[in-house]
């Protein structure tokens, strides 16, 4: 196994098979699991004696709303600030429902219409003229033909005119091919999950007609410190395993301190609510916390003595906070002097971070 990251349906193959085996509830057409089983897969639980790990730690009702949306074959739009597990959830939903999370359309400012519809095999087109064989299907078209779940990442970055090709696809479940005077209809089991983040500038807002075709679920940041620490710990362990880092993951205390710093700067107030803080321009999301901790772990493993300490984690934290070199440096300095310096047992953090600022 030399690939950096296996698809999710391979990573969690045993869990999916256990769920499939013990699932007796009715399944919508072409779904691999019933909706309740998909919820168990995402939120954790038990299936025929095998423990299913929790992929998403958060509100159960949000995930149930998302799955119910897909079961009523409406399109799902996942919104939220960056780093709140939108792509993660959509990937796992695709793996659980269709067994295939590879049908992705990546939205960028330069995404052409062909990415959502089809393009042509020009050689065949010129040789034999227009025919259905000359169509090169996009992931969307393949999903429609095979009745699978298609994922669109960063829907709001796609230019507005390209976004609107989705309107007919989502409402009539059909893709017209005007050149051949045919229309390709979707098979049962076809749905779309789109993700969009509502924090960036340079975003193409969805037209109201398109917005109406989606059911929107907003994924929030983790509500409590404990939840966030749990998420970071679990994911860091998984990542470390993938990166083949040495055995000892960072101690829970260190993770907790990183997450505390992130939460306080994100909210703009200390955890006890007594001191207001300036906020940095970086998002300081859970995903960033995960990458900072694994970075620190790698640093300690390769350049240190194997135990991740403040000196290893501080550069990553400083890098995550200071995105704008002038303003955010000020923010970090103030935070260090007013909060970290005063805290009991944080001297090592203070010293390590001072050097980086």
């Amino acid at each position: 196994m030399t690939t950096l990251r296996q698809p999710v349906e391979i990573q969690f193959q045993e869990e999916l098979e256990a769920l499939r085996a013990s699932d007796t509830l009715p399944r919508p057409p072409r779904w691999q699991l019933s909706p309740q089983a998909v919820a168990t897969y995402l939120l954790g639980g038990d299936a025929g004696g095998k423990t299913i790990t929790a992929k998403y730690v958060g509100s159960r009702r949000l995930i149930e709303t998302a799955i119910a949306t897909l079961a009523t074959d409406r399109a799902l739009l996942l919104l939220g600030v960056p780093g709140t597990a939108k792509s993660w959830v959509s990937e796992h939903l695709a793996a659980a429902i269709s067994g295939d999370s590879s049908l992705i359309v990546q939205g960028t400012a330069g995404t052409p219409e062909e990415a959502l519809r089809y393009s042509w095999n020009y050689a065949l087109l010129l040789a034999k003229g227009p025919s259905e064989a000359a169509i090169v299907a996009s992931p969307m078209l393949r999903g429609m033909r095979d009745g699978k779940l298609v994922r669109i990442e960063e829907l709001t970055r796609i230019p507005a005119d390209v976004q609107d090709t989705l309107i007919t696809i989502l409402s009539e479940k059909l893709l017209p091919v005007p050149e051949l005077d045919i229309a390709i209809r979707a098979e049962k089991g076809f749905t779309v999950i789109a993700t969009a983040n509502n924090r960036d500038k340079g975003v193409n807002e969805l037209s109201s007609a398109l917005k109406r075709r989606f059911n929107t679920v907003v994924l929030p940041s983790p509500a409590t410190l404990e939840e966030e620490v749990g998420i970071v710990q679990m994911r860091v362990a998984q990542l470390g395993h993938a990166l083949e880092l040495p055995e000892l993951p960072p101690a829970l205390d260190e993770i907790r301190r990183v997450v505390t710093i992130f939460r306080e700067l994100r909210e703009g107030v200390t955890l006890d609510g007594k001191t207001k803080l300036k906020q940095s321009s970086g998002t300081l999301s859970t995903a960033e916390a995960i990458s900072v901790v694994s970075h620190g772990w790698a640093m300690a493993a390769h350049f240190g003595d194997g135990t991740a300490r403040a000196a290893d984690l501080a550069p990553g934290v400083a890098g995550a906070i200071v995105k704008d070199p002038v303003q955010d440096a000020q923010v970090l300095k103030e935070y260090l002097e007013t909060v970290i310096k005063e805290r009991e047992g944080w001297k090592d953090w203070y010293r390590a971070a001072r050097e980086r600022v």
């Binding site: 909706p35 149930e64 709303t65 119910a68």
Partner: protein, 748 residues
């Protein structure tokens, strides 16, 4: 032969299943958990003008502060049962402990020294039920969010047989210790059993007992045997009594919410009303989401019908996923959040305030028939409202009145009289601009408890005018503060109660005569003058007030010089404000005699040596404004005050009193400006530092635009002046530092 139906108060599920059960069993007597006094109010149920939500109000005749409200909504099971009984001519027994005992016992029990404030000891909305809800406890044990959704699931699916299961469940809950079993509850249950025994002895074939589910286990046939008659009688021996009265009053939906503090409350009254009115269980989701869409459209947010259809489908899918037979409020909220509101919680909250029945803005008020016996005061109240075309609503409304119109003036008088009675229906909105004394704004919002206040006010008189007069008389205590009496006089004047006004003015006069505190007297002057001005608009007789003002003014003028002798800085500041107010008021009043007296007093005050400098400066300014002294005299006094002999702090205080308020004095007169300028520049460092805050305070009373004008003037004048001050001694080190700083700013 009797059947016990344990219900959940104000639960539409209970109401529907009870209706079905009664229709099936057709009992010929109904025993209901309500105090005995409710029986006399039952005949009004036949009147179609009695529209729920209403409450039965029962109060102690002697002391209307001891009262209880018994609310009924259209979805209350008790209401449904009572309507059924009236419609079928079935006899109704009310079996709960009568209020004549409850209220008397409450007086004995509630001897809490903390509740000394009579305003606190008012209404205790006592629900006819229990406080720690065992149904909620059972529901949560079954994994449901609240008792009503669990009840819907358990009761609706099965029907009649569930009542026996509920009784069993409650018996187990009682044994397990859920719910409160204090003396009061046990007494009430004893009385209930007594009444039930009497009803059974009467010889009815089939008796239906309707009570809160918690009490169901102690009212079954077995329980009647287990609890001996003599034990129950012993518990009910020698209960205190008091005379009580009862009537129906309108109630509002928001009062049913738990959030309003009602012990047997529900989470969302609007949702329960909807549940009750829905034609069938399938209809509930579609009609609720349609209402949600309409509420969003009323807020200018797009909510097309197609979205409503999609949200219904989503709600049903969610319900299926969660093993529910039908979508509950939570599923409907999540569906509307995801589809209609596009994930935005604010939009959801906006729509829900209209629907859930928790917001006072969208409240529903019930109605009571006109034929209900009312106290003379209540009848007068309704009659006045009718003639003035005022409606009593729970919705908050703002009314702007123009006192030059007769109709509006009549409304204003009516509101002020009610204000004297303490009725919290119309509240005056303070005029922020104060433009035109003929404009008045009122906010009207009827709180259902105000009915009690109206009943209470009945003991003062038979009409609103009489009651208001009597109320005013009670407030004319000799120990009342001058400001309070003035406010009362203001109120009485606006309420046009002229005969009582003379008494109030006499009391004011007496109070002012003994008032020794000059600040109190002076503070009373501006409102007194305002009263006089107001009176002109309303066309009332003001000679008494005129005399009072004369008296107060004379006393103040006489007492001013000596009283000002020993004032400290804060008191002097307060007095300056009173001086300003009085001066402005007197000038606007245009009464030459009063003004002359006042100006003479100001002259004496300014001349006295013991006057604090702040006040002395102010008097000079006031006299200058009133053209009693000319500018030369004013600048003379200024230069005297700013001379080196006086302490800089005193000089600054004088200056502050002189300059406060308007800058035009300085703009127009360069001479005064130069005086101040030379004084400031002539001070040494220490003095400058100590006086700077005071001078700054004087200048801060000017508006920003005025200060800019002053600055321009000074700069222009400065450019013409020929004297330039060069300080020969400078510090080379300091200069080098300044140069370095400049370089730093310019980025070199």
């Amino acid at each position: 032969m009797h059947a016990v139906y344990g219900i959940r108060h104000h639960g539409p599920g209970s109401a529907r299943s009870l209706a079905t059960a009664l229709a099936a069993a057709s009992p010929d007597a109904l025993v209901i958990e309500a105090p005995e006094e409710l029986a006399e109010l039952l005949p009004w149920l036949d009147d179609p003008a009695l529209q729920p939500p209403v409450a039965a109000l029962i109060w102690a005749t002697e002391d209307s502060k001891k009262a209880s409200f018994y609310p009924f909504a259209q979805f209350s099971p008790e209401w449904v049962a009572l309507r059924w009984a009236r419609a079928h001519g079935v006899k109704v027994y009310c079996m709960d402990l009568p209020m004549r005992h409850s209220l008397a016992l409450r007086a004995q029990v509630r001897v809490e020294p903390l509740v000394a404030d009579p305003a606190d000891a008012t209404v205790d909305p006592q629900p006819p039920g229990d406080f720690d809800d065992p149904i909620n406890a059972l529901a949560q044990a079954a994994g449901y969010a609240d008792g009503e959704s669990w009840w819907e699931h358990v009761v609706e699916a099965r029907g009649h047989a569930a009542f026996e299961a509920i009784t069993e469940a409650m018996a187990v809950a009682r044994a397990a210790g859920l719910g409160r079993l204090d003396d009061e509850t046990l007494r009430r249950e004893a009385w209930m059993r007594q009444t039930l025994r009497a009803a059974l002895k009467f010889g009815h074939a089939q008796v239906a007992v309707i009570c809160g589910a918690f009490h169901a286990p102690v009212l079954t046939a077995d329980a009647l045997k287990t609890h001996a008659i003599k034990d129950d009688a012993a518990r009910l021996k020698g209960l205190a009594k008091t005379k009580v009265d009862a009537t129906w009053v309108p109630w509002s939906h928001t009062k049913f919410a738990i959030a309003s503090g009602y012990g047997a409350g529900v989470e969302a009254p609007g949702w329960y009303a909807h549940l009750f009115e829905a034609a069938s269980p399938d209809d509930v989701a579609a009609s609720w989401l349609s209402k949600m869409a309409q509420a969003l459209r009323a807020e200018d947010i797009d909510a097309p019908v197609a979205s409503v259809i999609e949200s219904v489908r989503l709600a049903q899918a969610l319900a299926t996923m969660r093993w529910r037979p039908a979508p509950d409020l939570r599923e409907l909220r999540e569906a509307s959040l995801a589809v209609l509101c596009h994930g935005e919680i604010l939009k959801l909250k906006l729509a829900e305030t209209r629907l859930l029945g928790l917001s006072p803005r969208y409240d529903v008020l019930g109605q009571v028939p006109e034929t209900l016996p009312q106290s003379p005061l209540q009848s007068d109240f309704s009659a006045q409202n009718r003639s003035l075309r005022l409606k009593v609503e729970a919705l908050e409304r703002v009314l702007a009145l123009d006192l030059r119109q007769d109709a509006d003036r009549a409304k204003s008088q009516h509101f002020w009289r009610l204000h004297l009675l303490g009725l919290a229906w119309a509240t005056p909105v303070a005029e922020s601009r104060g433009k035109g004394s003929f404009r008045e704004t009122w906010t009207l919002c009827w709180a259902p408890e105000a009915a009690l206040c109206l009943i209470d006010a009945g003991r003062y008189g038979g009409t609103i005018a009489l009651a208001a007069r009597a109320r005013v008389e009670t407030k004319l205590e000799p120990s009342a503060a001058l400001a309070q009496l003035l406010a009362l006089a203001d109120n009485v004047l606006k309420a046009a109660l002229n005969d009582v006004l003379t008494n109030v003015l006499a009391a004011l006069d007496a109070r002012a005569a003994v008032a020794s505190d000059i600040t109190e007297l002076m503070a009373a002057m501006p409102p007194l003058i305002a009263l006089l001005r107001y009176g002109d608009v309303r066309g009332t007789d003001l000679s008494g007030l005129q005399a009072l003002l004369h008296g107060v003014l004379t006393r103040s003028c006489v007492a001013l010089p000596s009283a000002c002798a020993q004032l400290n800085a804060d008191a002097a500041l307060a007095l300056v404000q009173s001086l300003d107010g009085t001066h402005d008021g007197l000038r606007m009043l245009a009464d030459a005699a009063l003004l002359e007296e006042w100006l003479a007093a100001l002259v004496t005050l300014g001349g006295a040596a013991s006057t604090p400098p702040l006040i002395a400066g102010r008097t000079t300014r006031l006299l200058l404004d009133a053209s009693q002294i000319n500018h030369t005299a004013a600048s003379q006094r200024l230069s005297q005050a700013l001379s080196r002999a006086s302490a800089p702090v005193d000089a600054a205080a004088w200056l502050e009193g002189f300059l406060r308020g308007s800058v035009h004095l300085l703009l127009g007169h360069a001479e005064l400006r130069n005086l101040i300028g030379s004084w400031l520049s002539g001070m040494n460092d220490v003095d400058f530092q100590s006086t700077l805050p005071l001078v700054r305070r004087a200048f801060s009373t000017f508006a920003a635009a005025e200060r800019r004008l002053l600055l321009q003037d000074i700069l222009q004048a400065g450019s013409h002046s020929t004297s330039v001050n060069i300080n020969d001694e400078y510090d080379p080190g300091g200069l080098a530092r300044v140069r370095a700083g400049l370089r730093g700013w310019l980025g070199q």
